[in-house]
Symmetry: D2
Subunit: 135 residues, 4 copies
């Protein structure tokens, strides 16, 4: 299975730790960057989603670390949207350095009404556009 979209990140010095590798928590920040850039191709993207009164919460994350990333490494964070069902959606990720897989993972999300924090469906236009993009 392949990825049609990727975000480029470069390992920041502040993201390294005393093992001289990127701290494992930072991958979740990179996944988020990739997810937000992925979404921004669609009608204002994530900021646009927030303006319609919908917040997307992260409900679950999973990361497998294969090879450490180091300061100043240029990485590709590949991302694709997975199942979109009602209020829930999912993204999958692959972090590569010059074609070598450093990590992979997935995140699950739920749309909630920004005011009531009740679950709300993923807007139809977004579901449709993602289905088209990934189809």
């Amino acid at each position: 299975m392949d990825f049609r979209f990727e975000t480029r990140v470069r390992v920041r010095f502040a993201e390294t730790d005393a093992q001289a590798i990127a701290h494992h928590s930072v991958y979740l920040v990179w996944f988020e960057l990739a997810r937000i850039e992925y979404l921004e191709r669609f009608r204002g993207g994530y900021p646009g989603l927030r303006e319609t009164g919908i917040e997307a919460l992260t409900t679950e994350v999973h990361v497998r670390y294969l090879v450490p990333a180091r300061f100043d490494d240029r990485l590709a964070v590949k991302v694709r949207a997975g199942d979109l069902r009602g209020a829930r959606f999912r993204f999958e990720y692959l972090v590569e350095r010059e074609g070598e897989a450093l990590a992979d993972g997935w995140t699950a999300h739920a749309c909630v009404d920004a005011r009531t924090h009740r679950p709300t469906r993923v807007p139809g236009w977004l579901a449709d556009e993602i289905a088209t993009a990934e189809g």
Copy 2:
């Protein structure tokens, strides 16, 4: 199954995000705090492990977010060691606020020689002490 050890954390303002909740990446930092405090009961703990020339790498993480944590919340991060097999070990976590479960998760780790980065067994004394603590 229950937890015999916990670390207390308090949500820092810098850990919140524009949703006014603790950013989901921060839970990995809290897990790490709990894991390090857990280990420090044993012969110098994680700093001690590093001094013997062993680094513990994080190889996999999983978090489920149930209820958001907010600025200044006092949290209990419960932790227990799981399977210890050869070079690999695992921890499980439960984040609670006044008895309410906010998140749970687990992390997997591998011991490597700090110089060669080759896998190396979890030191016997540590495996024994953890087995006793959790037994």
Copy 3:
């Protein structure tokens, strides 16, 4: 000049960088922790201030780094409130490890109305209580 209040912090592994020292940006997070704990002695403290519709913005920071802090170091972050004038106030800090000064600095802040973001006076009760505490 001396400090009557301090917050204890312990250097987190995630706060270290590839120089194996606490990253210099983290001191601002520690200053914030110390400032918030300082304020919490007064009527609900910073969360209480926010509930009255006042936000405190950070308008200026200064840090001098004297000796690096390392993973797992136990630090005292000493703090005192300085000038309180109209909408503006200031804090001073000293970071110590077993009595040795590692860093010092100050931060300046302004109170704004949370809705309009216009400057608003530091509430009288807070100014009075700080004056008493530091007097």
Copy 4:
């Protein structure tokens, strides 16, 4: 006085806080990005400097926050090198959003031998190249 070099950054969601603005500590991370990109034009830059056995420590920072930055803002972090004297050097910064100044500041640094941590001169080639770049 003007800047000849700038780095582009985009405010990450993880960099915002519960005031819905970029947390003030993050500017030091952006300054660092700008400084490292500035240096990378010269013989391998900061990674190159580290490979010659020299570490650059941050000894002092100062930031003035004028206007908050928000999630997804595209910022220019302008940077220039200042005084280079012996082991010490200095950088100045200006953070802009579409030409509007959001913050400014400076950082001071010292070169140390990576092994002994003793002060060591800024390498002549680097001092010369910076002087040429800024001259």
